[in-house]
Symmetry: C2
Subunit: 342 residues, 2 copies
């Protein structure tokens, strides 16, 4: 089963011309009879059409370049899963490059993909810079971004600012007035800036409250290590910028024997399933990354098919109130653990 069988071999064996075989492979327009002869010849030779030769002629490669910041993230996994869900039935395939959270690599990856003859590129960006915009606008092929937002380019966004606002409003409403926001650096615009700003804007709105900030990484180990520092500020609630951060904090509090939410409350962002299995289950705002992936992919397909589409899409947010936040507006009663709430 060498891959040396070409369309000519098949043609010869079937006693027809190359074009006829080609027609058989693509559109119809062949007599039943020859169709059968070609079918047999193909079966006999084990012919496989050469992908590269085909793509050289045709405009479309059915390949979508995807650049992601890292591989080992639940969010990225879900995102890719969503994309795959819509690309796959349409016969499109993703070819992916990892930027390792580096903006420079991200740009390089985009360029590399452009040379690679993909039909379009989706970038799950860590931050859309002017270079990104320039590249996207100058490029002849469709490029879109997920996760982050920037004027002038197509993106499917999560409204991180709004998510921050939701959490701020909820916590205020529960009677909290002093929070520690445990977040990541500002290089991640969506998480580091918008999510945080949204939180500040509503939580601080009354003029009677206060937020302290502590910087951590994205993993829960680093959050775990910073938890003590956060605790030293004596807030009523520690707001993790991601679920992992909330989880790391929760673990630390457990080790210190500090009861959540009785003594202190904790929240996260993301809606990871694991937030539901820890105790207390983590109150969070869920992002539907899978849906985001589907939207991005569908949008890409629409553009490729020449449909008119809007530039900016956004996916809904789901607030998930679980057990990790204390309600100060009522006398506190120890509630029994609720059932699993994914």
């Amino acid at each position: 089963m060498d891959s040396k069988v070409t369309i000519s071999d098949v043609a010869e064996l079937a006693g027809v011309s190359k074009s006829t075989v080609s027609r058989y492979l693509n559109n119809g327009y062949i007599s039943e009879e020859k169709q059968e002869r070609v079918r047999q010849a193909i079966a006999a030779t084990g012919f496989k059409s050469n992908f590269f030769a085909k793509r050289l002629k045709m405009k479309s490669s059915k390949l979508i370049g995807i650049v992601i910041p890292r591989m080992d993230s639940v969010a990225v996994g879900q995102l890719l899963s969503g994309m795959n869900r819509v690309f796959d039935p349409e016969g499109y395939q993703g070819i992916m490059l990892v930027s390792h959270l580096s903006m420079r690599r991200e740009l390089e990856d985009m360029q590399s993909l452009m040379q690679q003859g993909v039909d379009g590129i989706i970038v799950d960006s860590v931050g859309i810079s002017d270079r990104h915009v320039e590249l996207a606008q100058r490029s002849s092929l469709p490029i879109m971004f997920t996760g982050q937002y920037h004027e002038g380019v197509s993106c499917v966004r999560i409204d991180d600012y709004k998510a921050g606002r939701m959490m701020g409003a909820y916590l205020r409403q529960m009677g909290h007035r002093h929070a520690v926001f445990a977040g990541v650096t500002e290089t991640d615009k969506a998480v580091g800036i918008e999510r945080r700003q949204g939180f500040y804007d509503t939580f601080l709105a009354g003029g009677d409250s206060k937020v302290d900030f502590i910087e951590t990484g994205f993993d829960f180990l680093s959050a775990y290590q910073k938890a003590d520092e956060a605790l030293g500020l004596h807030p009523t609630v520690i707001v993790g910028a991601t679920d992992n951060i909330g989880l790391g904090v929760l673990r630390y509090l457990h080790e210190r024997g500090i009861k959540v939410p009785e003594e202190i409350s904790v929240t996260g962002f993301g809606g990871y399933d694991v937030g539901a299995v820890v105790y207390p289950a983590l109150t969070t705002i869920a992002f539907d990354y899978e849906l985001m992936g589907m939207r991005a992919a569908q949008h890409m397909l629409d553009v490729l098919h020449g449909l008119d589409v809007e530039e900016e899409l956004s996916v809904p947010l789901h607030f998930i109130a679980r057990e990790s936040v204390r309600d100060f507006t009522h006398a506190y009663v120890q509630e029994p653990p609720q059932a699993l709430n994914l």
Copy 2:
């Protein structure tokens, strides 16, 4: 910056022949002077060599096909991350297809990849069937498998049987004599059969112990739902076939107010980080999926470079004793929670 600039445009602008430009792009053999002219022409035109045209001529595509069972799994993420870590610096790229845990799709994906002109294929298989072996052996390009093991094909395996044995031995040694093994169906040979068999073989070795089996899915929701049934069997320990299963059980026990490990013990397999942040932290056996990915990728590269390599590789197991198992061999003392143990 249209992608219409070809090698001829560059040649014309530089006042040389196409071949000279081609030489510039590949091996050397050009005078300093022309080299410079070509360089400038390329910069001026923004020329990008056409991937498909190039691959049509050359034998290697620098593309490795990767088929995975699903996208949204931590293990798969780590595996891919490991592969990427070795492929990337060598200029290789992965193009991946998802089988959605279906063996039929897995086979289809492999064939599809073969037509696609990839240099090699790595399959993170759900189970290596005779069809797999046949395909692999008949194929002209290197194919290797991860996660599962089968004679006659290259694989990087995790010794699931041994992992099962380790857990069985540990639990026996801790004085447990009645376990419930909460596992998945036998369609996943590694997890569903080998891991379980290994456990049975050592745990049951003394003739004085007993194991009951309960079937669950891979997600912790389904484990959570089956936990009650497991509990009804009154074991001293529930052994989850994966960490997710252990986690789901842990959550259920928490809701019922049943203390772990005081009243019952729980374990998992996999070594997911989240197992360390729940309380009690989950005792487990860690598989280094990232290393497995690296090994597989390196092996693939070696084969591609014509090096002699062994057919079968395996990655080490790490036993992680944490807090979720009770030691019956000593009088039980409530231990304070330990520090985070990843």
